[in-house]
């Protein structure tokens, strides 16, 4: 048990609008510490839907979800927000940085929210993460004045700030050109291999998936491999 970071048991989900459709059927799988996992499948197979359930943002499902040995079922919204803050890092298809803040502030934000370290400490850690991703020179720029590839790397730095149990990505390279995709993939790979960071990435980019350690293939709401 202690080696399992995330476990899904019999997760089933329905969409009710416009008609009731079963989008996820009995999903069972677990992610171990240090795994670099890709979830692949065609558009509409339910892989993103699954990711949002696993991320605790979507609570409308049946089945059980365990993160770091704790059940996520029937927990209150502020409680789940704290879990997301502390244990999960996100990277989305679109960067989703806060335009009103600088790059450094964006990275610091979840750390300040966690409140485990002082503001100076959080700032130091944020600079460390930016250095690790080779973008420390952007720290003081407004976040809407950097390129798409840079934004995605800032988003990864932000995902890392609280040393999460798991990083989840929803098509993190889907909106990037070849070169930037390559850079982002290298970052993920480095995180997995050097820092033993657990990663769970949803992608339909087969070449990306092939280079991860484990592929979960989905079709029509079921895991097929």
């Amino acid at each position: 048990m202690s080696n399992i970071t995330l476990e899904a048991k019999n997760i089933t989900k329905y969409f009710h609008d416009p008609t009731t459709v079963k989008v996820l059927m009995d999903i069972n799988f677990s992610v171990n510490k240090g795994d670099f996992v890709a979830i692949t499948g065609k558009s509409g197979c339910g892989k993103s839907t699954l990711l949002y359930i696993l991320s605790t943002m979507d609570t409308d499902y049946e089945g059980e979800l365990w993160i770091d040995g704790e059940s996520m079922v029937k927990r209150k919204e502020p409680d789940l927000a704290r879990v997301r803050n502390e244990k999960i890092g996100f990277v989305f298809q679109f960067h989703y940085l806060l335009d009103e803040f600088t790059v450094l502030e964006n990275v610091m934000m979840p750390g300040l929210k966690l409140g485990k370290y002082s503001a100076e400490e959080v700032e130091n850690r944020a600079m460390e993460k930016l250095k690790m991703l080779g973008i420390e020179n952007l720290a003081l720029k407004p976040s809407n004045q950097i390129s798409g590839g840079e934004k995605q790397r800032v988003a990864i730095a932000r995902a890392l700030i609280n040393n999460p149990q798991i990083i989840m990505g929803d098509e993190p390279t889907g909106n990037l050109d070849q070169k930037n995709s390559q850079i982002v993939f290298e970052v993920f790979k480095q995180l997995a291999e050097e820092f033993k960071q657990t990663l769970l990435i949803v992608t339909h980019d087969q070449s990306f998936a092939n280079r991860t350690h484990r592929i979960i293939n989905m079709e029509d709401g079921k895991i097929i491999a």
Binding site: Y52, S55, A81, N85, Y96, L98, F101, P110, K113, R158
Partner: protein, 419 residues
């Protein structure tokens, strides 16, 4: 820590839409300043009008009422517990209007901690003779020093020196209306006849103008000694004791107490002028109503702008939630935005309101009936500023509450997937 972060995020969002924020704040500023100005002006007018009456009215007045004797002889024979006595044609007795033992009463009153001051008075109806005409009027015998101190008598004397009535014997201050009827100028001598038919020449040393024509046409003032001479009474004769209290609200209770203690009629200001308070109350109510309506309008402005901001910032809200901000935190962020609009807008409103009041205070306002008033009356009562500040915060809180609740309910999945 958490609150500091929330305020920081709120500040960034505010500054990002600075123009809209400014317009919302100006709305609050405008309504608060109007609220303050309106209330200050209205309260100033109220104070002025109240002052017309209150300044000159004792809080408690001790006197002897002309009335039938309560102890009719028959009661000593048949007591009212066992029998009903029917008495026809009771008449008021010829009681003396003089207050018995007035000196001792005044001494006792002066020692009472609740009493601000005491002024003795003699009210004497007279006729003013002017050739063939007799004009009915009243001479009030007053102690000029206490009358001036307690009832602002000096403010209403438009010509002459009020102290002259005590300095010069047989002198009188006439109401302006009365003086006009008598064609009397300063230094002239007017003939005053008492009810008993005695005639006295009195020298006019001043005019007074109260703002109420009816009073100015009948009233006149002389020293107590002069009126005692006029009425051929000894020098301890007085008919009224006027009392000013430290706390106006206690007047009815104290009047009752004195009524028992001194066995004398005592009337309090509330009973004597029951209808008076209604006017001030209604005027104040109207100003509050207008002020609150202005604030509500400003509140809708804030509501609109916050709603718009929330639609614009859906992505920000979604990302905050995804990275671990709870719905409550998001709600707090937007509430802080609303409240800071209310706080700064309100603060500017208080200052602007004060400025407008100060300007109104400088506008000349001269009316012949109110000689002591030169500019529009304005009240600078801090209560209105406190109410304005509290109202601005409450309205903006309510205006922010609903949009911020909506923001807290934003589902990040819908926003993130929808992109």
């Amino acid at each position: 820590m958490n609150l500091k972060l929330i305020i920081r995020i709120a500040k960034s969002l505010l500054l990002a839409r600075f123009k809209q924020t400014l317009i919302a704040a100006v709305g609050v500023t405008f309504s608060i300043s109007m609220f303050i100005t309106l209330l200050s002006f209205m309260a100033g007018l109220n104070d002025l009008l109240d002052g017309l009456l209150l300044n000159r009215t004792p809080h408690v007045r001790l006197y002897n009422e002309i009335k039938p004797n309560i102890n009719q002889p028959i009661y000593s024979q048949f007591d009212t517990n066992t029998t009903h006595n029917f008495i026809h044609s009771i008449k008021s007795t010829v009681s003396r209007q003089e207050i018995y033992n007035s000196e001792a009463i005044i001494q006792t009153l002066k020692k009472d901690q609740r009493v601000l001051g005491v002024a003795p008075k003699i009210i004497s109806p007279v006729f003013f003779n002017d050739g063939a005409i007799d004009i009915t009027g009243v001479v009030n015998g007053i102690e000029i020093q206490s009358e001036g101190k307690l009832f602002h008598f000096n403010e209403y004397v438009t010509a002459g020196d009020p102290a002259d009535i005590e300095r010069l014997s047989n002198s009188i201050i006439l109401g302006k209306g009365l003086a006009d009827q008598l064609l009397a100028n300063l230094g002239d001598v007017v003939q005053v006849a008492t009810i008993n038919g005695e005639r006295f020449p009195l020298r006019v040393v001043g005019f007074f103008q109260s703002g109420m024509q009816e009073i100015d046409k009948t009233q006149s003032y002389a020293s107590i000694a002069t009126v005692q001479k006029l009425k051929e009474k000894p020098n301890n004769y007085i008919t009224d004791i006027q009392i000013k209290l430290k706390d106006l609200a206690k007047a009815p209770q104290i009047a009752k107490e004195y009524n028992k203690l001194f066995e004398i009629d005592a009337v309090d200001i509330q009973t004597a002028n029951a209808t008076f308070e209604t006017g001030s109350f209604v005027r104040t109510l109207i100003s509050y109503a207008v002020g609150v309506v202005l604030l509500i309008v400003a509140g809708f402005g804030i509501y609109n702008i916050l709603n718009m901001m929330i639609y614009e910032k859906m992505n920000t809200i979604a990302i905050l939630k995804a990275t671990g901000f709870a719905g409550k935190d998001v709600q707090k962020i937007f509430l802080v935005i609303a409240m800071s609009i209310g706080f700064f807008g309100g603060l500017a409103g208080l200052i602007l309101g004060f400025g407008l009041s100060a300007i109104i205070d400088q506008i000349p306002f001269e009316t012949p009936s109110l000689p002591s008033v030169k500019t529009y009356p304005v009240s600078y009562n801090p209560t209105y500023y406190a109410i304005g500040a509290v109202f601005s915060l409450i309205t903006t809180f309510l205006a922010g509450w609903f949009p911020s609740r909506k923001a807290s309910k934003v589902d990040p999945v819908v926003i993130i997937r929808g992109k």
